[in-house]
């Protein structure tokens, strides 16, 4: 039986142990690559090159990371309140409807008005989609994990219906809305070309990346510098102490879920307003679920989430380069590698901790 012994220094907890986990994940991934007959070192080099070896790679990496920051923050806020919001996927998907509705419906207005409105609409619809499970949890005790999963499916069907019957222009074959021509968020490439006359490599990176940084700061401020954040964390850390302190759990659950949903909704801003410029089927593409891994890995702290989102951005971008370069390693293999990273960094977060602790204290005694 392993006993908890003393405290590990902070740097071991947040630095060394995640690095060990990452290393183990990469070693196991390497073994998988070896089994299918490829050179793991070469594969890793291709991944790294593909992600950070060029401006284009960086663009994609940051674009993916933007999505993951939003969904990761969404999971983290709910997690601080003791809630496991698995519904980021559905909340982001629904939020896309809000973004597209405002972006298309109000395009007669100038873009400096429409874009903020479209961002607010994304947040509002995402918040609404998380608010319902929040109310069900607070008032009826329906478990948030079950309801948010269910709401992912409802969102998937509902948005599909809306695109098909409401947003799709008559005669268009593809299941998507008409293009947002006025109020979209410009990509870095477009800004460089239009305003500076410079050609840079094509990538979907757009100005939403600054929104992600702002959101990370806002979440930190909310949780650690406001009374509401204090109440959210108190409820998550010790519900009976929170009740003793006069914090109403039902109220906090609903508020935390709404904030969580709004953050997930921002993912639609990056994707719909920043990249696709139209509402397309299945645009979330699993980013909501990656957010769970990102939040776990980032220890639900905004700084950790930004770092974890960058790592996953690297895996996504490097992974797709790898599947281009090596036909043997197809898209599914890349998903396997990502899954292994999630497994070791998230689910097996504490697997190596006892050994590290034992080594550490042995060294200390000498």
């Amino acid at each position: 039986m392993m006993q908890a012994r003393g405290e590990l220094p902070h740097w071991v907890d947040v630095g060394l142990i995640p690095l060990i986990n990452l290393a183990v994940a990469l070693i196991v991934s390497g073994l998988v690559v070896l089994i299918i007959g490829e050179n793991p070192l070469e594969a890793m080099w291709i991944m790294l090159q593909g992600a950070v070896g060029s401006l284009k790679g960086w663009g994609y990496l940051l674009y993916y990371a933007t999505n993951f920051v939003f969904t990761g923050l969404a999971v983290a806020v709910a997690f601080h309140a003791g809630l496991f919001n698995i519904g980021g996927e559905g909340q982001a998907y629904m939020a896309g409807v809000g973004a597209a509705a405002v972006g298309l419906g109000l395009e007669f207005l100038p873009w400096p008005i429409v874009i903020p409105l479209a961002i607010l609409a994304s947040m509002a619809v995402g918040a609404f989609w998380a608010w319902i499970p929040g109310v069900l949890q607070a008032k009826r005790g329906s478990h948030i994990v079950i309801t948010t999963i269910m709401f992912n499916f409802i969102a998937a069907s509902l948005v599909g219906y809306l695109i098909n019957y409401w947003f799709r222009p008559v005669g268009k074959m593809a299941v998507e809305s008409r293009e947002i021509t006025g109020a979209y968020i410009m990509s870095f490439r477009e800004v460089a070309r239009e305003f500076f006359g410079v050609r840079i490599a094509s990538s979907p990176l757009n100005f939403s990346v600054f929104l992600a940084i702002a959101a990370a700061f806002a979440v930190w401020y909310l949780l650690w510098r406001t009374k509401l954040g204090y109440e959210i964390r108190a409820l998550g850390a010790n519900p009976s102490a929170a009740v003793y302190a006069g914090i109403r759990p039902d109220r906090i659950i609903v508020i935390a879920m709404a904030i969580s949903g709004a953050l997930a909704g921002l993912m639609a801003v990056n994707e719909i307003l920043g990249v696709q410029h139209r509402l397309v089927l299945g645009f979330v593409g699993g980013a909501g679920f990656v957010g769970i891994a990102v939040a776990l890995m980032g220890r639900s702290h905004p700084v950790g989430i930004v770092l974890a989102a960058l790592l996953f951005g690297l895996l996504y971008q490097g992974g797709s380069e790898l599947s281009f370069a090596k036909p043997e390693i197809n898209r599914d293999m890349v998903v396997v590698i990502q899954g292994l990273v999630i497994l070791f960094m998230g689910a097996l977060e504490y697997a190596f901790r006892p050994w590290v602790a034992a080594l550490f204290f042995r060294a200390e005694e000498k």
């Binding site: 006993q3 003393g6 405290e7 009374k227 964390r233 009976s240 006069g246 109403r248 204290f361």
Partner: protein, 512 residues
């Protein structure tokens, strides 16, 4: 194995036991000898290492150094099943029972002896009858354990250990949950066990129990055994001094109370749980300025529920809680109750009073975090929070005085001081206190008692709930006794312990 009952070879020998948890040196070179057929007491403050030592003996922890001998033979105890096989049984402070199971099913747990449960149950039934006759350990074998009173649940724990062949029985703080009467019965059982040649190790922090029942006593302080005495040749004062390492006052020093006007008036208060059982049953009493009203009773007789209703955590089913002329029962919200001038030190500091993962400064504002003084509007000003924590920690001598240390890292006494500081510094008209010194070392107890009395002398009202009869008797200006949700009677501070014990057991009841 040799000489089971020769009385010469000690039942248990611990030689040079050493155990560290990280930087904490929990047991320092502990050597202890437990004589066969004796009752050996181990006393010490919280964190003195008693529980660690017994956990090593019972196989929960492994000693870093040292040797254990059972009946003279060196042994290695790697798990609790090794300990049981060597004839060591343990009755934990928190019972390890499966509540929906019957007594019989609990007794055979871990000793089923095959794929079918039938034969083991038959054997256990016969064995239980024998044990009941030998040791005054009567329990209905077919009763559901969860429905038994705590005293009987404890008996089931003892039966479990004896059924598995325990020759040496370790009891960890066994009387915390018992009435004085039940405790006496337990001591009779322990006496019979000793007569039958069994060995008993009694861990406690209650000096009175040590004096009443043990043959020898070992005192632990800071991980070391500082003394072992024949019980007959020592006294309470000496033991207390050995435990703390300095001279301590066992009596609380306080002057007579000067009660003023009524602050809290509880009228016909009833609170029913979900099953409709009245846990607080038509309770009426009042608390005046400048007095401490103590509520005595065995834990689980409605005191916790009463505190919850008064502090606004739950709403009364019927009746009123009049605080300074206003019915606060209908508020049903601790935040508003606090705003009226009521402070609450909860019974369970780890689950209620503190948030273990928060640092001390964040715990110093728990419940009071809405105050504008801590930040305007929605903001929470970290500097102001830390400044308040520093001031309170210094005034109440919380050690270490570090506002950034997680509250779970403080010792029990310092955690309690943190809560007492928070609630007293809110300058309440009424302080309600539940179990203020449970699991707190003697030094901190002295201090906490002093601060509560100081609050009384400032003309504030105090309502004190405690299961420690000594604490109630030494602190209170008036004593109420609760049993099964009702107030059984009121007594003055000089009340006879025997008489209070009868009220606590629900035997006698005042006409009132």
């Amino acid at each position: 194995m040799h000489g089971d009952g020769d009385g010469m070879t000690p039942a248990i020998e611990l030689i040079g036991i050493d155990k560290r948890f990280g930087s904490v040196h929990a047991n320092k070179d502990v050597t202890l000898e437990i004589a066969q057929g004796s009752i050996h007491g181990i006393i010490g403050e919280n964190g003195a290492g008693k529980s660690t030592l017994m956990s090593i003996l019972f196989g929960f922890y492994h000693a870093d150094k040292g040797e254990i001998r059972v009946k003279g033979q060196p042994v290695r105890i790697k798990s609790s099943s090794d300990a049981i096989a060597l004839g060591i049984g343990m009755v934990h402070q928190h019972f390890m029972l499966v509540e929906p199971f019957t007594v019989l099913e609990n007794v055979v747990l871990g000793a089923e002896g095959g794929a079918l449960i039938g034969p083991a149950l038959d054997k256990a039934r016969a064995e239980l009858t024998r044990l009941a006759a030998d040791y005054e350990l009567d329990v209905d074998p077919d009763a559901i354990v969860g429905e038994l009173p705590v005293g009987l649940q404890q008996r089931v724990e003892i039966l479990k250990a004896l059924f598995k062949g325990a020759e040496t029985l370790i009891l960890d703080e066994p009387t915390g949950v018992l009435t004085p009467d039940e405790a006496d019965h337990l001591f009779r059982i322990l006496g019979t066990l000793r007569e039958q040649g069994k060995t008993v190790i009694l861990i406690t922090h209650k000096l009175r129990e040590i004096m009443a029942i043990t043959d020898r006593v070992s005192v632990m302080r800071r991980g070391e055994v500082v003394a072992t005495r024949e019980t007959k040749q020592t006294n309470v004062e000496e033991l207390a001094e050995l435990m703390v390492g300095r001279h301590v006052l066992l009596r609380v020093e306080k002057g007579p109370s000067q009660p003023g006007e009524t602050v809290l008036d509880v009228r016909n208060l009833t609170w029913k749980d979900r099953k409709g059982v009245a846990r607080v049953d038509n309770v009426s009493f009042s608390v005046r300025k400048g007095e401490i009203v103590g509520i005595a009773g065995v834990s689980g007789n409605g005191q916790s529920e009463l505190l919850d209703v008064i502090s606004g955590i739950t709403r009364p089913t019927s009746g009123q809680v009049i605080f300074e002329g206003k019915d606060i029962g209908i508020l049903g919200d601790p935040r508003h109750v606090r705003a009226e001038g009521l402070a609450h030190v909860p019974e369970d500091r780890q689950h209620r009073g503190l948030i273990g993962s928060f640092d001390a400064s964040e715990n110093v504002i728990l419940g009071w975090h809405h105050e504008e003084a801590l930040g305007k509007g929605f903001r929470l000003d970290r500097d102001k929070v830390v400044a308040r924590a520093r001031a309170e920690m210094e005034e109440f001598d919380v050690r270490p005085p570090d506002p950034f240390l997680k509250s779970s890292k403080f010792s029990g006494g310092n955690q309690q001081k943190l809560i007492i500081a928070r609630e007293i510094k809110s300058n309440p008209d009424l302080l309600i206190v539940g179990q203020p010194t449970r699991g707190v070392d003697i030094g901190a107890i002295e201090y906490i008692h002093k601060r509560i009395i100081q609050l009384r002398d400032e003309g504030k009202a105090v309502l004190l709930v405690s299961v420690e009869l000594d604490e109630i008797r030494s602190m209170s200006d008036r004593i109420l006794v609760m049993f099964a949700g009702r107030i059984m009677g009121e007594r003055g501070p000089g009340a006879d312990e025997r008489e209070l014990g009868l009220l606590m057991a629900g035997v006698a009841k005042d006409a009132a």
